[in-house]
Symmetry: none
Subunit: 404 residues, 2 copies
């Protein structure tokens, strides 16, 4: 990929220290025509000061008009063209619920389903059982032994779970067993190329044993497997950017993607506050060139459709920002991975407010505060999210000149 070739050529081992603060789903829309967005509404004196001093812009996560999932959106923020570096669904699901996926592992999404006495699927989602019910079924499957490999299984939300197969010679080129229909039996795991035949056989052994153990546990008395995928073997931050990088995040998905690009993922608690996260960043700041800090709840409140609560999360970030600024970072990037307007209650395609602050190197624009409309007119313009990392490195004086 041209972008990384250039980074490998230009990235320097020395330079300033970079903080990437991501408020998930940051971008928003006004509640009513002519009104203010969540970010424009929030009282954010610290971010406004950085905005006034630094550069604003809008980032396009994937392509114009395309709303991204969290996986591809973070890949883009990390500098990986999300249409080139595609993390398989099985891997995203697995890392999203906290399973580790290493080199050579095969990760798979699982669904609980209901089958009748003849083995025909009557419900592909097992009556949408609760997460608690799903966890009980997963307990039944945890110690299934398959010869020659290790299998780890973990419950996801509701009827979902994920599976990681670990061992020699595994291959993810296996078709889904979910027939995407009811009234038929699940499909056997079938290799789509000779190299995957053993993996398909092992998956079928696991499915057969799972079916036996789930018998009588209606409505979740069967499993289907989808999205067989392997560690995408991504170029690592240390190799591409020459950065020693760390991740402070609360949700497994963001930890997982960070691990895939070679960040050192910090231990956090599921109930850590924003202040807790920021204090953890501060505590490790001396050990790294680059720290990615992820705040989840802007997205969550946007998905809830709760405009005011999203505003409050943004204000909480701003109130705690002095913890991060107290580290004296050379470059601060504050952005989102995508927009989640509360009016929209979902990820959207709208370009994402981005703030880049790097005293001595940032361009100044006319912005007086951090908000969508200010970003429209900012010095960074509209850019693809995958170009953010080169900009951050440049502002940290970590990129050499290209050509003579």
């Amino acid at each position: 990929m041209a972008n990384f070739d250039l980074m490998r050529e230009l990235a320097l081992k020395q330079g300033g220290k970079i903080l990437l603060l991501v408020m998930d789903g940051l971008g928003g829309l006004p509640r009513e025509q002519g009104g203010l967005t969540e970010l424009e509404t929030a009282r954010t004196p610290n971010m406004d000061r950085l905005a006034k001093e630094g550069s604003l812009g809008l980032s396009i996560p994937i392509e114009r008009g395309v709303a991204p999932g969290s996986g591809p959106a973070h890949m883009a923020l990390f500098g990986y063209d999300p249409l080139v570096y595609d993390i398989g669904r099985g891997v995203l699901e697995a890392i999203g619920i906290g399973l580790e996926v290493g080199a050579g592992d095969v990760a798979i999404r699982g669904n609980f389903a209901t089958v009748d006495a003849n083995g025909l699927i009557t419900d592909r989602r097992a009556g949408r059982i609760s997460t608690e019910e799903g966890e009980k079924r997963v307990e039944l499957l945890k110690d299934i032994q398959i010869p020659g490999i290790e299998v780890e299984v973990k419950a996801g939300e509701g009827y979902r779970f994920a599976l990681v197969m670990r061992g020699e010679g595994l291959n993810a080129d296996v078709a889904d067993t979910d027939p995407q229909a009811t009234g038929v039996t699940p499909l056997p795991a079938r290799a789509q190329s000779p190299a995957a035949e053993r993996t398909a056989e092992l998956a079928n052994l696991w499915i057969a044993e799972a079916a036996k153990r789930l018998k009588g546990h209606e409505p979740a008395n069967m499993v289907t497997l989808r999205g067989f995928a392997t560690d995408p073997n991504l170029p690592k931050y240390s190799e591409v950017y020459k950065l020693n990088a760390a991740c402070v995040a609360v949700y497994p998905m963001y930890k997982g993607v960070s691990r895939l690009v070679g960040m050192n993922v910090q231990q956090t608690g599921a109930h850590d506050t924003i202040a807790d996260e920021f204090n953890q960043v501060a505590s490790i700041w001396n050990d790294y060139d680059f720290v990615f800090c992820h705040v989840k709840y802007t997205d969550s409140r946007g998905e809830d459709g709760n405009f005011d609560a999203k505003v409050q999360v943004i204000e909480e970030v701003d109130r705690n920002l002095p913890i991060l600024l107290g580290m004296n970072p050379d470059v601060v990037v504050i952005t989102g991975d995508h927009s989640t307007p509360a009016t929209y209650r979902a990820h959207s395609w709208h370009p994402v407010p981005t703030l880049l602050w790097a005293p001595g190197t940032h361009m100044t624009d006319y912005a007086e505060s951090y908000g969508e409309r200010a970003c429209i007119q900012g010095a960074l313009g509209q850019f693809y999210a995958k170009d953010l990392m080169p900009m951050a490195l440049a502002h940290a004086k970590r990129l050499a000149k290209h050509g003579a």
Copy 2:
């Protein structure tokens, strides 16, 4: 092409209804330094209201600095990368004068030329005969019979005409017969690959018969053929975007390109007014997800160099806009295919003012009216025209999320 793969993955069958109103050659320049452009001069209260509520931006038809013809410019507006999806010149010429080009047909541009008694070309454009004289010559050629295929010929402007060959096994890989020089004979049609040999032979039969019939009809006593091309077999709107789309346009070229992408082209009269066109859009609105409406005369008056007349066309569009807004479209896009500044009297490369209005989903910017300078600061930024369709679909909630 990655973009269409993404559209095929994400496009939904359900969603809002989209109106794409194209004022051909909309973009302009001030008459004098510091003045207003045509669009800025025009009194457009309806468009100004939409601009104030919605998002503005500037579209780049092909590449920065590149002035496009109408064919590639519309391909881009329709979402087809014009540097990837190249419609052959013969096809553009043929559809531009109203010939249909179907799958397997070969379309060719023809010129009338003058040859002397020895068959040497003395004028490659037959003394630039009038369209009326050209039409008379075409009458002589209309019923030429070629064994095994059907040939349709139609007069264009002046010394130009177009030809469509229809039948089994045709192939457009045939070199031009126009030697691009005088004092030499026209070249025979020559196949550039074995599969095109029969087509070249059939073309030579047609040329020989045409030469016989034109004998004595100086100055147009010979023909040359150029730009052999076949139906480009473009992905269709229904397949790529899952849109049931219609086209309301007066000029054959725009109808032709619309037909090539699978729009249902409506019957119009050559002398339809803007109000007639808008009323036709309204009359079919219930039957389609997407309607493309093309206004030609902004471009025509720009090409004439008539600034005031171009302003008047824009004002006429605005006056009649309530006909379209009365349909309550979910998404309205008002743009041009390229700029045709009256001061320039030709298509130009200047990025094109674009207005996107979609209550509930559009971003708001600081624009108070629709004009070039307002667009520079708009929420859409500067974007490639090929990205307009994904944005329109997104605003109509017709695109699913990409990735998890």
